[in-house]
Symmetry: C2
């Protein structure tokens, strides 16, 4: 099975305590597409400008990401984001956001993608996410990500969207923000009532928690020697997660648990270098090795 990914493709300028980079490949759909591509076919729907470097297209092609849905607006500029991380690598400070061609992103899903069974609505405006969802005929699984900005500024649109989401991904502070609950298990329960039967709360270096019909799966994070740049970690997690499910074409809780572990392992590659420099250059054996190592580091 293939995964349909809709979200942002961006050029990022990032400063972390360990270094900086300028106008490198980024965006929620980029990280998640490349991550998913290690497990399944990927169809990408996004928009870029005429300034989007050919080498980035080449990377996506190398990963066999289908680019029929990548709208290249020759006379426009690619969405760009500039951010800075403090010493503890927590939420970055946004220095500048230039929406550029992204400001009029109104995705038309190519006809051949409309029967997609695995859909990932990467982090973008929930109004656009809903417009995408409405174009998909009969998805088997809809996974959706978001961010604090939309919870704050498009709360009702997000809540409307959630009614039709199967698996909702958000981080701890977003879960608290959306639900108004401090205790994470209560937050998850409140969000479940908004629609999604399954929720994954991402806790970064502390792992993640999966809530499903009253059952819970808690998993720690893979321990890393160093984090270089956390940008895209959540998107990469999501891509590995849905890619693994599509590969197995199963969405039972047992498969979802493994998908979460694969998602979190994919994220470790993303954070070990800027942009997709590492993630774009690993192979299946690298992933398997980390999975086995993780398994032996968590069993008791």
């Amino acid at each position: 099975m293939s995964v349909l990914v809709v979200g942002s493709v961006a050029l990022d300028t990032i400063k972390t305590p360990l270094g900086e980079c300028c106008r490198v490949l980024g965006g929620s759909a980029t990280y998640s597409s490349v991550s998913a591509s290690f497990f399944s076919g990927v169809n990408l729907v996004a928009v870029v400008g005429g300034d989007f470097p050919k080498e980035h297209i080449d990377l996506l092609k190398k990963r066999d990401v289908c680019l029929k849905g990548l709208d290249i607006k020759q006379d426009g500029k690619t969405f760009s984001w500039e951010g800075e991380y403090s010493k503890d690598f927590s939420d970055p400070k946004t220095i500048a956001t230039h929406l550029n061609v992204f400001s009029e992103f109104n995705p038309k899903i190519p006809r051949e993608y409309k029967n997609a069974e695995y859909l990932f609505l990467a982090n973008i405006d929930p109004v656009i996410q809903k417009a995408v969802l409405n174009q998909i005929e009969k998805p088997k699984l809809v996974v959706c990500d978001t961010m604090n900005y939309w919870i704050e500024n498009k709360r009702q649109d997000l809540i409307d969207l959630l009614k039709n989401i199967d698996v909702f991904l958000l981080n701890e502070s977003e879960a608290r923000q959306l639900s108004g609950e401090t205790v994470i298990i209560k937050a998850a329960r409140a969000i479940t009532k908004m629609g999604p039967k399954k929720i994954i709360i991402k806790k970064g270096e502390h792992g993640s928690i999966f809530f499903s019909d009253g059952s819970v799966f808690c998993v720690p994070a893979y321990l890393l020697e160093s984090v270089f740049d956390p940008t895209g970690a959540g998107d990469t997690f999501a891509g590995g997660f849905i890619g693994y499910l599509a590969k197995n074409d199963k969405i039972d809780d047992e498969t979802i648990r493994k998908a979460i572990v694969y998602g979190s392992i994919m994220a470790t590659f993303a954070v070990e270098d800027f942009s997709l420099r590492k993630l774009g250059n690993i192979n299946e054996a690298d992933i398997s090795r980390r999975f086995e190592k993780f398994k032996s580091a968590t069993c008791f």
Copy 2:
């Protein structure tokens, strides 16, 4: 096998966002003794004053904790601590500490305890911890806890002590404080070089990490509906941990992993009410149920 526990027995006055209590049973050795008592025999060495309520003695007796080493100074007052937790239940603010009889605590290990094989040096001054260790003939396993105060004020004494410790317990910020390393895996490596071959880094609601000769065990925390009072959680963890090892009389990594899970489960009971109100009133079936629930919430 029995566990020898040396540490503080205290009367705590605590305020949390959910309530408050006055002069209730507390202390590092109290929590760890009661926790260990669900797995093995426990011999307690500590000091209290003439004001120490009989009901607390009764609780320890009910849990079959041997009190031959509990020095009751009839003309003195019991060590008392007053603390307040903020909304997020992180490190409490100390309002008052009255050392009382504890200020002259110079534990004499009863003759029949000197051949103890499982020794837990609960959180007290590392100088006292060392004086205790020197009285034990040939321990099979020495587990040691500490706190930020000793790292800051008795650093060299602590480092001297660590040379003779088998398993060292500390939390994330203490690990960073002691090692000077920000990344937790590097902090653990640095602390290993100080002596202890095995280190457990406690992360509270995010679980714990066990480092041993290059191998790593990461475990999330058991998810709770509500935390009422985190006081004693680390001590309770330690008690369950060493109690389980003593019960099985094994200290290989596989047994240690299970001991960590049991320790963290014991801690969940401690935090669900003030003092030992819950921890002192559970039974083996409660522990088994949580262990099984935890196992099913973490397997993949």
